[in-house]
Symmetry: C2
Subunit: 106 residues, 2 copies
DNA sequence: ACGGTATACATCGTATCACGAAGTATATAT
DNA sequence: ATATATACTTCGTGATACGATGTATACCGT
């Protein structure tokens, strides 16, 4: 998928991936795979950004001798998703403009 | 509108704006305004990029003592729009994932 | 015992890109 | 005279996705 097209979607995808239950990096990547592929470096950058923006909180959990960092969405994270949904109407208007491709109906 | 969300749309918007008839910078901005706002610096960056990528051709026209650069879409530019439409299904799948927000239907 | 693969997170550098700021220049309206 | 609209250009910056690379453990097959 086109990199630029992903840019406005990734943050919200990650938030959606942890919306219903806390999750961790590796699992998020797997869960999102059917919809959008992202590398580990991309994901951890996003998680860090979302944490800085208070969209989620982190807690470390020992698992099988390894460390896992579980991410939990915050109220602001939920709000971010809602705002995205609102923005979507503008996106659809743009898409309509592109597929029509002419101005005969203004 | 969210900057990141625009990123995957702007190139195609500009191409759409010149699809049916050649146009020039200032007019493109005005024509796109109802759908997406972009500054002059953004537009000219995009036009340059699209030209470099052979998505459009340019020709200068004298108008009222001022110079106007008219942009015409190429076959590759048209192809770019078609590819965008194809990509759109992935975008919709992502959107559905976000608004559902749960995995009870996998 | 060894090698490969999966799990799990981290960091660095780079390329792309939207945008504000500032500039140049002409025509028209107040 | 001043402001506004038209029209294009250049520069610098910040945001961001991603490949490359690294660390570390567990498991499975031969």
């Amino acid at each position: 998928m086109d990199v630029q097209l992903k840019r406005g979607l990734l943050d919200v995808c990650v938030l959606t991936a942890i919306k219903n239950e806390d999750s961790y990096g590796y699992k998020i990547i797997k869960d999102l795979k059917p919809y959008v592929e992202l590398s580990e470096s991309t994901l951890y950058t996003i998680l860090k950004r979302l944490e800085t923006g208070s969209m989620l909180t982190v807690r470390s959990v020992e698992h099988d001798g390894r460390l896992r960092k579980y991410y939990r969405i915050t109220a602001m994270g939920l709000k971010r998703i809602e705002e995205f949904k609102e923005e979507w109407e503008k996106v659809l208007a743009i898409y309509q403009f592109v597929i029509k491709g002419d101005k005969e109906n203004d």
